[in-house]
């Protein structure tokens, strides 16, 4: 009973960290990786709430398809936010 609660707390804090990193990152490729990390911690959250059906759809869409789609879009624009190199 205690393990799911520890997983819940860890995964939700981890997702908060990943979201903050993704929002403040200027390198868009790194931001995609952080966003995928946030999705993985949400998947852990959903699994610890024992909803395997949602986990399957969530993992494939938000870690796989969403990241791939954003990578395709970044390849059509600039890698760094604001146009310049990261300082």
């Amino acid at each position: 009973m205690i393990l799911p609660i520890i997983l819940l707390i860890t995964a939700s804090l981890l997702s908060l960290v990943f979201v903050y990193m993704a929002v403040t990152e200027r390198d868009l490729l790194k931001a995609v990786v952080f966003s995928a990390g946030q999705s993985i911690s949400y998947a852990i959250l959903l699994q610890s709430m024992s909803t395997p059906d949602i986990v399957m759809t969530y993992v494939t869409v938000s870690v796989g398809l969403y990241s791939a789609l954003i990578l395709f879009v970044i390849s059509k624009t600039e890698r760094f936010e604001g146009g310049g190199r990261e300082h």
Partner: protein
């Protein structure tokens, strides 16, 4: 950079303290059993729908018509996506170059594994968690791995073109519509499951129409997403010079 870490630590600490304070101050009751509706689904799903998986049964049987309309929404969304990138350009073929041998070999292994898992999710969708949409999008992820590593032209050389994929998608969606409409021929309601489709074939439980819906939905989702990925990987120059191969 330092302020970034400082703000991050502040965020984590405040999130922790707020949640601890909330759990101490507010006495939130923990659910100790199943609700009445959940009990109904758990005990009656297998009799009503022939599928032991309650979620698949709700999605494709109890609330079947909703899911048909949801599929229609996805169909229109992908039609919109294709309409934006639709180009009628001259066909050229380039030699596929791709990445190094290491990436190619590992991608071969990984995409085979993903395709196997996708098939397992789809074909067992009426027995275990999963179903058509997760299975199909897992297959699309495998293709989206192949496109950057082997280059788009490797897929095109194998005969996987957007036109064929869109046609396959149309076929799968038509099949979903037919599966939903066929019971009407015998005077039953639309999206009827157990009164029209068999519960098992040769002793294998198929859950009536649920497995059919899952298979066709996965084909439709996979081909739709792969077609979008192929259109997105057309290089920018192709739009300017008027030459493409997709």
């Amino acid at each position: 950079m330092n302020t970034r870490i400082l703000v991050l630590i502040l965020l984590v600490v405040s999130a922790l303290s707020v949640s601890i304070a909330a759990s101490l101050l507010l006495d939130i009751p923990v659910p100790r059993g199943l609700k009445e509706l959940a009990v109904y689904y758990v005990s009656n799903t297998i009799r009503d729908t022939g599928s032991p998986e309650a979620v698949a049964a709700i999605v494709w049987d109890y609330r079947g018509l909703d899911t048909i309309y949801e599929t229609l929404v996805l169909y229109l969304a992908i039609v919109g996506g294709l309409a934006i990138f639709r180009v009628t350009l001259k066909t050229i073929t380039k030699t596929p170059i791709g990445l190094t041998l290491f990436s190619k070999t590992s991608t071969k292994i990984i995409s085979l594994l993903i395709a196997t898992i996708s098939a397992a999710i789809t074909f067992h969708g009426h027995l275990t968690p999963g179903g058509g949409f997760p299975g199909g999008s897992a297959l699309a992820v495998a293709a989206m791995l192949i496109i950057p590593v082997f280059s788009m032209y490797a897929l095109l050389e194998k005969g996987v073109t957007s036109t064929k994929l869109v046609a396959l998608r149309g076929f799968a969606l038509t099949a979903i519509g037919l599966v939903a409409l066929l019971p009407v021929v015998r005077g039953l309601e639309i999206v009827t499951n157990q009164k029209f489709y068999p519960t098992q074939i040769l002793g294998i439980p198929v859950g009536g129409s649920i497995s059919l819906y899952n298979i066709f939905e996965s084909i439709a989702v996979a081909s739709g997403f792969i077609a979008i990925a192929l259109y997105l990987s057309i290089p920018e120059e192709a739009y300017k010079t008027g030459e493409s191969s997709a």
